[in-house]
Structure formats: C-alpha cells, structure tokens
C-alpha cells in the first residue's frame, strides 16, 4: 500500500536513523512513501503550551498539504508527538466547524484549505494492521530466533486516541516482533511514560522514569521504540547499557537490510549486540 509520509522535524535531526530506517523498511516491504510536499513543523509540545490556536493551525497546514495532493492516501507519521498533534488537530477540526472555518481563513492566503478528510496514522498502526506482519515473516526467515525483544510503545501513539492498540496493555508490536523469529518480553512497561520532553528540561525525571522502565527489561536483548522522544530518553538515561533501536531498524535488520542503510551507526546506545547477532 502507498502512504503520504510526514517525517517531522526530529527525523530530520536527532532521529535521523528513524527516518532512514522507515524509508528502507517500506521500500523492502514493497510500499511506497511519498513525502508531503513542503511539510512544516506540527508545533510539537511547544505550540500547545504557548498558543492553543496555533497548535491547531500548524498541524492543519500539513493536513491541508496532504489533502492538496488529492491522492486519498493515509498520512503515515513515525513520530508519536507529531502523530498526536496531527491527529488531534484533525479531530478538533472535524468536531468543530467554527474552528475549521477560522483555521481556513488563516490558511487561505497560502492557497490551502483543510477539511480533515485524510486519515492520520501512526507508523505502528500501519505496520501492525496493513498486512506487514505476513510480509515480514516471509522475508525475515526467522533471522531473529532466540532473540528477546522488549517492545516499548511510549504514550502518545497509544493515548489519548486508542486507535489501533490497547492503551493500557499495548500488544501491536508483538506480532511484528514474533514475525522475525524473536520472542517478546512479557513486561508491563511498554506503555509507561519515559518522561518525554519533561526529561529534556528536568533530567532527574528522565533518569528515574527510564530507570524504572529499563529495570524491568532485564531479560531482553534489545528494546525497540516507535517514538524519537522515547528513543532519546531511553538511550540517554540508561541505568546500564541496553541496545535501544527503532522498530523499523529492528525489522530492517531482521529482513537482512544493512545496518548502515538503517542508520544503525547513529544510535546513541550500543546496539552492537544486535548487529553482531544479525551478522552471525
């Protein structure tokens, strides 16, 4: 299937390997990602804290761009924060026609209009529900057998929109991980908050929360994530070295793609154990 692709700012910067691996993985799976032309920042956490209206306008601009492509394709978003902003704006615009009118007034001079018709989907939503599991299983040839993986979901892909998974007990990664031949660590920390941007401004928060999470990952050979913020925190505040990599990196490796093409040299955590595993 084909998708419109909204990478978001992080994927152009600190989460570059997430971007690389996403594109590589979808290529390998035979899906086509088309970047939303001229996409801009969704407002991240900042807009919401500074200006409520702007926090709708910024994502709305991108939705309008997507609509303008007239492809009818779903928008695939790998970054959970971007996903939530886009999705929430879409929801607000759908439910509040007055708001939609106001936003359109702001967008009009740029020859843009939004009607919130495109669907916004998280990378994990797409991977877990659009048939990727079977294709991964086919291509991975059990390459990850004997490997134990801790799926870490974070918050914003699960909540507040319970779109594709159980927000209390997420499981959508299980089938994907198993499709590689790996085992899934049975833990409760998959949906527990890592501290998100609070950890950026208050490192002690990140240290404690990430510590709590990774303490439970004892038996796992690696932790996989689907959010740049989570990835950053989990790599930055490790109580002891654990390989943390993005889900598409992990799936890509399982499919036999090269570590380099998946940006595996860019991870802050030491993911050599995973790489050597695939090499052998």
């Amino acid at each position: 299937m084909d998708y419109l692709y909204y990478p978001g700012c992080s994927l152009e910067g600190t989460a570059n390997e997430y971007d690389l691996s996403c594109r590589e993985l979808f290529k390998a799976l035979g899906d086509c990602l088309t970047d939303i032309p001229d996409w801009t920042c969704c407002g991240a956490t900042a807009a919401q804290c500074v200006d409520a209206f702007l926090s709708v306008v910024l994502p709305a601009r991108n939705l309008a761009l997507a609509e303008k492509t007239d492809t009818g394709l779903d928008v695939l978003v790998p970054c959970s924060a971007c996903y939530l902003n886009l999705k929430k704006a879409r929801q607000d615009l759908l439910e509040n026609s007055a708001l939609q009118a106001r936003v359109n007034q702001v967008l009009a001079p740029d020859e843009l209009a939004v009607n919130a018709s495109v669907r916004v989907r998280h990378l994990l939503d797409v991977l877990s529900r659009d048939g990727a599991v079977d294709r991964v299983a086919e291509l991975a040839e059990n390459r990850m057998k004997g490997f134990v993986v801790a799926p870490y979901y974070g918050c914003q892909c699960l909540r507040p929109f319970a779109e594709f998974d159980d927000p209390e007990q997420p499981r959508s990664m299980d089938a994907l991980i198993r499709a590689t031949g790996a085992d899934v660590l049975a833990w409760d920390m998959g949906g527990v908050c890592c501290g998100a941007s609070t950890a950026t401004t208050k490192p002690q928060v990140g240290k404690e929360l990430v510590g709590r999470i990774l303490d439970q990952a004892g038996d796992a050979h690696a932790v996989v994530t689907v959010c740049p913020m989570c990835q950053m925190n989990l790599e930055r505040f490790q109580p002891r070295p654990v390989p943390v990599l993005y889900l598409p990196q992990f799936l890509g490796l399982a499919l036999g793609l090269s570590g380099k093409s998946l940006g595996c040299d860019m991870n802050l955590s030491d993911i050599k154990p995973v790489l050597s595993r695939v090499a052998s």
């Binding site: 700012c9 992080s10 152009e12 910067g13 600190t14 570059n16 001229d38 996409w39 801009t40 920042c41 407002g43 991240a44 956490t45 900042a46 807009a47 919401q48 804290c49 500074v50 200006d51 409520a52 209206f53 702007l54 306008v57 910024l58 601009r61 106001r102 007034q105 702001v106 967008l107 001079p109 740029d110 918050c155 914003q156 699960l158 909540r159 507040p160 319970a162 927000p167 209390e168 527990v192 908050c193 501290g195 998100a196 941007s197 609070t198 950890a199 401004t201 208050k202 490192p203 002690q204 928060v205 404690e208 929360l209 930055r236 040299d265 860019m266 991870n267 802050l268």
Partner: protein
C-alpha cells in the same frame, strides 16, 4: 511567590482570568478520586499531586496552583486522561495551565517559557525546527550559564553521531512568519 503577585497579574489580564475560569469549569465534575495522581508517572517529582492541584483550581486557590510546578511537569502521557472516571480532559487542561502561566510570564517558569519561545521562534523562522540554533537561542534567552552546561554532554554525543548540523539546509518558501501573524490576528478578532 506571593499571592498578591499572581492576583495582581491576573487582575490585569481579564482574558487569562476567563481562561482560568474555563479550566475550572472543565474540571468541575472532578470527584477527587485520585486516579490521575496515582496514575501519573511524574507525580513523584511534583510538589503537589495533580489531584491537589485540581482541587486548588476548583476552590479558586490560584496562589497554590501557580506556586506549584505540577502542571509544568506534565509530560503529556495522557494516562490520567485515559483513566479519569469522569472523562475529564486532564492532560489538555494541564496544557492550558501552562498557557496561562506563560502568558503571565511568571519568573519561576522562566526556563520553560524561554525554551518554548525559542522553539516557536525557530518554527516561525524556518518552518521546521533547527535544533542547534534553537538551543543556542534558548541558552541566550535564559541567561544562565548553568543551563547550557547541563546539555554539553548530550550535545557532544549528538555531534559525534552527526545529528547536530550547525548548517541546516535552507527551506524554500517554508517560512511561517505570515502564517503566525495571521493566526494572531485571527485570535484577536
């Protein structure tokens, strides 16, 4: 933080007083069950639990609300929103408190305020976030040498991984200045 400071500042800003009243109204059906607070991953770092803070909102204790860091520590994980038996938009309301706090420009939240300002300026200018420049602006804005120091280690790491690009590729027509302006105008109408 003195009660009078906040009261005075609020008195000068009827829009914010209204905003606060709206937040209070949104929270009116809170039954103080504490689900939010025992769910909150950051509750341990907060000087008062979310429940106590909401109670302060509902009993008009603005002094307590804004002398607390609680809402600033909200990481938007939405667990409380998910679980609140009254279906209250707790996470969104936290953000609204942040908005009020920023608009009041309270000293105690200077670091956060400056950070988010720097962020928004960055978007306004480039359309997308240029992380390196944004941080530099932020460090300048807080005017506190300890702040950049605390990020040095991380910066070096990121640099080593080629994740910080001092020269970000220029974006064509993506500048959002006019859009920001129009949004501001729209709100003022």
């Amino acid at each position: 933080m003195h009660l009078t400071d906040i009261r005075e500042k609020l008195a000068a800003r009827p829009d914010l007083t209204r905003h606060l009243a709206q937040v209070k109204e949104q929270m009116a059906t809170c039954i103080q069950c504490g689900t939010c607070s025992s769910s909150c991953p950051n509750a341990g770092f907060m000087d008062m639990t979310p429940r106590r803070m909401w109670r302060a909102v509902l009993t008009d204790r603005v002094d307590m609300v804004f002398s607390s860091q609680t809402f600033m520590l909200c990481a938007s994980c939405y667990v409380c929103t998910l679980r609140c038996p009254r279906g209250l938009p707790l996470t969104d309301a936290m953000a609204e408190l942040k908005q009020v706090a920023f608009a009041l420009d309270l000293d105690r939240f200077r670091r956060s305020t400056r950070f988010y300002r720097a962020f928004m300026d960055n978007i306004r200018q480039y359309g997308r976030v240029r992380e390196t420049e944004m941080m530099a602006r932020y460090f300048l804005a807080v005017k506190d040498p300890r702040v950049p120091m605390s990020y040095t280690g991380m910066g070096i790491k990121l640099m080593a991984k080629h994740k910080l690009h001092p020269h970000f590729p220029t974006l064509g027509p993506g500048r959002l200045g006019p859009l920001f302006e129009r949004a501001t105008q729209q709100q003022e109408q």
